[in-house]
């Protein structure tokens, strides 16, 4: 049976297990290249942030590897489908190994939930297979009975290293 992208919450306030399941599901959608469903997990005002600096606090006046709103994320998803997306001929594939996400904070009144997930991410294309180690921080909220990502922050342990192409989403 195919996993459902967006599972409705049982109650107005998500349980810890529902937050954890959500984070795990998000990674699985990337690994299965279900990018349109993946994009639907993001709120309209969401950001995906991959800092360039260790413990970076400012995404505006300090450079990042990625700091993208939903428009830019949707452009990436569209690009992956393109007939002339030469850097994806052949396509990259990826694989997440997550530790169990930890619920760092929950504030039902503010509709704000934060999880922290150490992970290894492998991206592969042609003969190359590259391993990245990172921590993913998810800032989540409930919209119309479903969890949505407001901010996903991916801190690479070697964020300041010189990388080759990183093509997909961690």
């Amino acid at each position: 049976m195919t996993m459902v992208a967006e599972a409705p919450l049982k109650n107005a306030v998500p349980t810890d297990q529902e937050l954890i399941d959500f984070v795990v599901r998000e990674a699985r959608l990337i690994d299965q290249q279900r990018f349109d469903e993946w994009l639907d997990l993001y709120a309209d005002d969401a950001f995906y942030w991959m800092p360039l600096e260790w413990n970076q606090t400012d995404p505006r006046l300090t450079c990042s590897l990625m700091y993208e709103d939903k428009l830019l994320l949707s452009i990436r998803v569209e690009r992956l489908k393109g007939a002339r997306t030469f850097s994806q001929k052949p396509k990259s594939r990826c694989h997440h190994v997550l530790q169990t996400p930890q619920v760092d904070s929950r504030d039902a009144a503010a509709n704000s939930y934060v999880t922290w997930t150490p992970m290894h991410y492998v991206e592969t294309r042609l003969e190359e297979q590259t391993l990245y180690a990172a921590w993913a921080t998810h800032h989540l909220s409930v919209e119309n009975g479903k969890l949505k990502i407001k901010l996903k922050r991916v801190d690479l342990i070697n964020c300041d290293a010189a990388f080759g192409n990183i093509q997909l989403f961690m």
Partner: protein, 437 residues
């Protein structure tokens, strides 16, 4: 097997008027000769003096593949030193940048050096008595790079004594630096926002050439910029155009746009695209900026400074600057098939923060290893690096809009899609590669 060492004629034969031999990209021997001759004979960018604001501040980088240090000496001047202990060769600094205090100390045997490189002290000095140590190379300390020039904050160095002096090497091309710096109301830049580092499995010259290659954006970047244009078309009418769309969409401009924008050719491999307009021409005004520039320079001069829209200025051998958005890319050679690309951004001192914000957004959308535009380019370089091993044809064609009388012409503006700049870079390559050989 050596084919080119000490053989200036063989090296010259690699570059023809309209084509170059693949060995300039794939031969490890040619690469080694570039490191021994071409880079040491050229004025190579080291760094910006705002990276070392205080006495004792240092920044470690390379000229070609040689490790060097930019350091602020106790007297306030900047020095460029070879980053090697004169004793056993140990690299002196452990971090890329930092502050060493009043002196450098080698972590291996504690030899110490003043920040101009001169030898300060050696432990157990008595052991060198009556050994003739004073006459040794080691006694002179960390070797300085003798020829350095700080041009309005941008530090260049030349390792060899021969060759051209700074003004002769750069000539009129320095006007692109002037324009980038003059965009600050107080005429000053500061390195800001962090450096993006991107590893490329290709020859460094492919990157340099690509800076003036205006026939590739609408083809290679159809996947990224083309998708931006398509997605943006679906936005509800009246939506304010985001900064990101302003930055990426112009890459899809038609051939005519690039033909008409023009390319300028200077001496010694330098030149710039965007004589009349460029992909940076139509950015939205930043509130308060023009008023500050007018107050500083007067309206006429402010308009002249901001009216320049030079797209990419190539400074031979291995940097490119973008004046309108204060960005410098440094193409650092590692091997014939490996190049580290560093993209540095600058803040215009006393200008609104939003200018730096736009510069940083440009850098991460175009130059990051996570950038989809960068993916388009790197894919092409790496395919070329592989394809050049085909024996079907040993020559790379650079013939577009070739004119037999072009060699020797300087400060001319030509059709923006001409491959003249690349031919011109290779003429300079031959000149500095064989200089003194």
């Amino acid at each position: 097997m050596t084919r080119y060492a000490g053989n200036a004629a063989a090296l010259r034969a690699l570059v023809r008027d309209q084509e170059v031999h693949r060995d300039v990209y794939v031969s490890e021997e040619v690469f080694q000769l570039e490191m021994e001759h071409m880079f040491p004979n050229s004025w190579v960018y080291v760094g910006h003096d705002s990276q070392v604001p205080n006495a004792g501040d240092y920044y470690g980088t390379t000229i070609g593949t040689q490790p060097i240090l930019l350091v602020r000496h106790t007297d306030g001047t900047v020095k460029v030193l070879h980053n090697r202990c004169p004793h056993k060769g140990t690299r002196i600094t452990s971090e890329t940048c930092g502050n060493t205090g009043k002196f450098f100390r080698c972590p291996y045997h504690a030899w110490s050096f003043k920040t101009d490189g001169s030898l300060l002290a050696i432990p157990l000095k008595k052991g060198y008595e009556n050994t003739g140590f004073e006459q040794s190379h080691a006694a002179t300390g960390m070797a300085p790079v003798r020829h350095i020039r700080n041009y309005r904050g941008f530090v260049f160095a030349k390792i060899n004594d021969g060759g051209l002096d700074f003004e002769e090497f750069f000539g009129e091309s320095l006007s692109s630096f002037d324009n980038m710096i003059d965009r600050s109301p107080v005429g000053q830049l500061k390195v800001a926002g962090g450096v993006l580092r991107y590893m490329h499995n290709c020859n460094w010259k492919m990157l340099v050439e690509n800076q003036t290659d205006t026939c590739h954006p609408m083809v290679a970047h159809e996947s990224s910029a083309g998708t931006v244009v398509e997605v943006w078309k679906k936005a509800p009418p009246g939506t304010k155009k985001p900064m990101a769309v302003e930055i990426i969409a112009p890459f899809m401009s038609p051939y005519e746009f690039f033909e008409n924008m023009g390319i300028r050719i200077w001496d010694n491999g330098h030149g710039h695209t965007g004589v009349h307009h460029s992909i940076h021409s139509d950015y939205s005004a930043i509130p308060g900026y023009f008023e500050k520039m007018t107050a500083a320079y007067g309206e006429e001069r402010a308009k002249a400074i901001l009216g320049e829209n030079r797209h990419n200025t190539v400074y031979f051998p291995n940097i490119m600057i973008k004046g309108p958005i204060q960005l410098l890319r440094h193409f650092k050679p590692i091997a014939a098939n490996k190049t580290l690309v560093e993209s540095w951004t600058f803040q215009l001192v006393d200008a609104p923060d939003m200018l730096l914000e736009r510069t940083l957004m440009y850098n991460r959308l175009i130059n990051a290893p996570t950038s989809i535009v960068g993916h388009d380019d790197l894919e092409m370089y790496e395919r070329a690096q592989e394809g050049l091993h085909s024996n079907a044809n040993e020559w790379v064609n650079l013939q577009r809009l070739y004119s037999p009388d072009e060699a020797g012409q300087t400060n001319v503006a030509v059709n923006g899609t001409s491959e003249w700049p690349m031919r011109h870079q290779f003429r300079a390559w031959t000149k500095f590669m064989t200089m003194g050989m």
